[in-house]
Amino acid sequence: MAEIILKDIRKTYAGAVEAIQGVSLEIKDGELVVLVGPSGCGKSTLLRMIAGLEGITSGEILIGDRRVNDLEPAERDIAMVFQNYALYPHMTVRQNLAYGLKNRKTPKDEIERRIAVAAKTLEIEPYLDRKPRQLSGGQRQRVAMGRAIVREPAAFLFDEPLSNLDAKLRGQMRIEIKRLQRSLGTTSVYVTHDQMEAMTLADKLVVVNAGRIEQVGTPIELYERPATVFVATFIGSPSMNLLDGDASMDGWALASHLPRPSGPFTIGIRPEDLTVIKDQAGIRDFEATVRVDGIELVGAESLLHGRLASGRDLVFRVSGRADFEIGDEVKVAASLKDLHLFDAQGRRVTLDR
């Protein structure tokens, strides 16, 4: 049980490429923190730095009050689950689980006990004497988890552990990882590029972009109050509509009584916050007229791709089947509480009434 603290971590590669540009983060004991971001943003590098597989140019990493900068990965009391599982192919599942404990000179009966418990929790008992290649992807994933669990480390590090699984299994394993992490109460850092995975797993979500942290918060905070345009578009699917305030507001309008930021601004509206309006009466905070040029029926709801007069796209969502055709002109509206405003630098602006 431990907290993990990162203090102004930097990583510069030869050639002065700054891969990590000053990251500070506090992970509380027992918390599951998800690092999410597009590929190449540095989230995996960050995780590998915590693990000790990657050197740190400057800054400090503490795991449970211990400065681990100069410690070997083995001495940091962490366990890692790799994207490709990294199971030792020449060992049986049992040997895979035991390997880390044996190297630490754990007594034999203690190893046996821990393997038995982990195997029971993960339901891999029938496969203990098989080799990894005789297992399916999902089973290998469980073994990889088991190898982390038996160590009883201060922290788990997950490096995109589900990305090699098919969609259905990924959903299952996601729930299982969450449940397991809850019951063990072990501090965990989880890296993924899948925002859906990130949203559902995280106690605390960290959005990483281009080597720095964009925003830290609970999933719902990030969804409801994204601090930057990047977070706004990265979290949520389909992603948030963005409209430039300085462009000719062709086809859309903000109610005149609303305060506006001075200078150019960007307005963001989530597709699910736009509602189709049929009657013309009433004042709306935001209103737009679009021509429908695409309809995607995704089961319980339909995604509509509309085009404003200025040629910009506006995606919105209706439940069930849409009752109009491609080419129809539709009016959509949103209320003030669902509008996100960003300044020219892409930072969130709070609208005061």
């Binding site: 990965p73 366990a79 030792y88 192919p89 020449h90 390997y99 190297n103």
Partner: protein
């Protein structure tokens, strides 16, 4: 593998023809000639030869010189294969950790492979010849009695080292490739699991190299049996007192120097059987312990 169906009936045979012609001309034909010769005996003047059945084989197998040669070959082959593989593995494992200039190291280490066996033998002979060798001089000056021309064990050591040295490059190449094929994440997982240095090497890296090691074991055994003729011929000529006379050297010596063609052919047939049996044995028993991922 996907089965390929050729629209033309003759084309596949045509494509295979060069390989088949080569195998027939350079393997099946000489091998069948050897089989045929092994049951014949030449008259003293080489004018005619007569069928003698298995008499040649009986003679050979009851000849103490032949049994001695068998023993020499076993020692020589085993030592050569092990020495060259061990050194190559050590070099490959070290080269794997070199970051800067690793290509230079690799290129340099590959060079000895381009040296012909006889030339390699001469090289070592020059270095260790008791009359003129630099190293022989150094050894003697330090009180070590070094004379491979008289001491059979020292002669054996010299040919083993020379033969192994030449094969190190080849083994090195394969070990380097094998090491590179090991996923980096496995090594990282092992380092998190608390395995370092030699422990990691023997518990993770070496078992994962097993397919490469096995392949090299087969290749090196065959190399030591056949391809080392040039080295032995150049360095010791099978001596002193037949101490380094391997089977393949004896085949040459009995057939082309002593002109006992039938006996030599019989020896080469036995040699062929031994190598086939050894390779089959390696595939049958050693391969079982090899893990292919």
């Amino acid at each position: 593998m996907q089965p390929v169906v050729f629209p033309n009936k003759i084309l596949p045979y045509l494509l295979l023809a060069p390989q088949i012609v080569l195998t027939v001309v350079f393997f099946f034909w000489p091998a069948s000639q050897a089989l045929y010769q092994s049951v014949l005996r030449e008259d003293p003047f080489g004018l005619k030869s007569g069928f003698v059945g298995l008499a040649n084989f009986r003679t050979i197998l009851s000849d103490p010189a032949y049994l001695h040669s068998l023993n020499v070959t076993a020692v020589f082959s085993l030592a050569t294969a092990l020495l060259s593989m061990a050194v190559a593995l050590l070099l490959a494992a070290s080269a794997d950790r070199v970051v800067r200039g690793r290509n230079v190291y690799r290129t340099l280490l590959i060079w000895p492979y381009a040296v012909a066996p006889a030339v390699a033998g001469m090289l070592w002979l020059f270095m260790f010849n008791p009359a003129m060798g630099t190293f022989a001089y150094l050894l003697r000056r330090n009180g070590f009695v070094w004379d491979p021309l008289l001491n059979g064990n020292q002669a054996m050591l010299l040919v083993i080292v020379a033969a192994a040295w030449k094969q190190i490059s080849y083994n090195f190449l394969f070990f380097v490739a094998g090491l590179q094929a090991i996923p980096k994440s496995l090594i990282e997982a092992a380092s998190i699991d608390g395995a370092r240095g030699t422990k990691r090497f023997w518990t993770i890296v070496f078992p994962l190299l097993a397919p490469t090691t096995f392949f090299l074991l087969v290749v090196n055994t065959v190399y030591a049996f056949f391809d080392t003729f040039g080295i032995i011929h150049a360095v010791t000529g099978g001596g002193p007192a037949k101490a380094t006379e391997t089977l393949v050297y004896k085949v040459y010596n009995d057939g082309f120097v002593n002109l006992d063609l039938g006996g030599s052919a019989a020896q080469s047939v036995i040699l062929m059987v031994i190598v086939v049996a050894l390779t089959a044995f390696q595939f049958r028993f050693v391969e079982k312990r090899v893990h292919y991922s």
